[in-house]
Amino acid sequence: MRAFSLTCHSYEFAASLFEEQAYQVDLTDPIDVKRVIPSKPKRPETDDNATREKWAKEDGKQMTTVTIYASTGEHIIAGTSKGWLNIIDTKTLEVIFSKKACAGVITTLRLTGSGKVLLVNAQDRIIRTFHVPNLSAPDLDPDTIQLPEEHKFQDVVNRLSWNHVAFSSTGEYVAASTYNNHELYIWERGHGSLVRMLEGPKEEQGVIEWHPHKALLAACGLETGRINIWSVTSPQKWSALAPDFVEVEENVEYVENEDEFDIHAQAELTKRRLDREDEEVDVMTVDRASDDGGETSFRMPILFDLGESDSEEDLIAVSTGTMRRRSPGEGQGEGDGEGAEEKVAPKKAAGRGRGKRR
């Protein structure tokens, strides 16, 4: 058993299912162990029978719809179909804290990188953020846990619903894709104000993801299934290439040095070039600065087999060693296994009219 666990990593995940109880799945052993994650909120003790019955009736129909792990991995934060937030201990699977966050079904839960702020999207058209207490404090008393609400983001004018929400890399911004609408909204968390509405293709966007440390946002088009990427475009700065490079607004007459354009004998030029090539270039030393501060990171092996990775261009293997570019209009079935198309298409015109087939 020990020897096995060396090769097979112990992995654990939380899964929420459609109209079923959520499970915590442990993959340590060859046969996975599933444990039910409770969805009944923790209620205060009461002597009143009527209240208790009412609560039991309410809680009976409740399902866990979203499960995420708190940043330490010691707790699961779960959202339910009745708008409750439950904090569950991963070891004992007991609900240690519950809070009624809203009235509707909770559809998305997200944490900032630090795990201190929780983002909740629910079907009541309001996005909420909550401050998460330090759940791994040694003297944590479940009765004193508080989950104070910080902001509410909503569009009161258009009464928009939100498909999906995401935090920015630092948690400073909140982004959301809109239901039945094309824009992405970005709010700033400090003041809770709307800073930007991103316009994109004329298409409703579904899942959105913010890059873990760049100002880069990826979203999936619901209809075409294209992945759109928003980021900051930086103007070209030629002076960044060389420190003595000066950008000029107008033409300037250049005064050259005395020997700048002298013609040297070919033999001497060759000699100079060869001399330069004698310099030893250090290609072995690894630059420490480019390494990510100590954390063991995995590098995915590169695939050299184009057939497996078929990137960028639409290539088809015609025979061994020959490829030909896919002609437009060929194999454009929607997501049909082999006929996959990948395209880096900055032009909007490219591939218009695809994905209409249903």
Binding site: L17, G73, G225, S231, S309, V344
Partner: protein
Amino acid sequence: MPLGPPCILRFSALQLKLGGAGGLESCLHPHTHLQQQHSRPLHQQAFSEWLTVRNAITTAMNLLLSDDYLLQDYPENITNTIRSGHSTCLRFNRKGDYLASGRVDGVVVVWDIDTMGVARKLRGHSRSITSLSWSRCGRFLLSACQGWRAILWDLQDGKRHREVRFRAPCYIAELNPWNP
């Protein structure tokens, strides 16, 4: 390299300490700096002091070259559109160099963010992907689909590492962030 608010803070602190651009300029040239302010020749300690300040400024100036990042920390325009089948689901890995996307036909595609090209395709699901989750180290990827299954992929060889079946479609499957 992460360019976040800490960099901005560090730079503005430096500027304050040196008293704006004038301070910056004089620090870059040891002779002018010392002669103007102290009127005495360069000596060992002052030189090493100057060296540390200069290094700090070089770092700050290098950051300045990419000042667009410092000024704006939320995206503005569409810069790329990538497509592989019909994607329904997205997730960046922890380091931010790969983006996993799940498709309607059950294929999981891993994109390289630097080149915006496909790095891997993982075939195993037959129904639409509902959720993706990366392991902390970035080697494993958990995908769940409407077909009542979740697969843990090993990206070392691109093969499925484990498969779990449920009795209902799986909405969300999240890996414990502190898995070994």
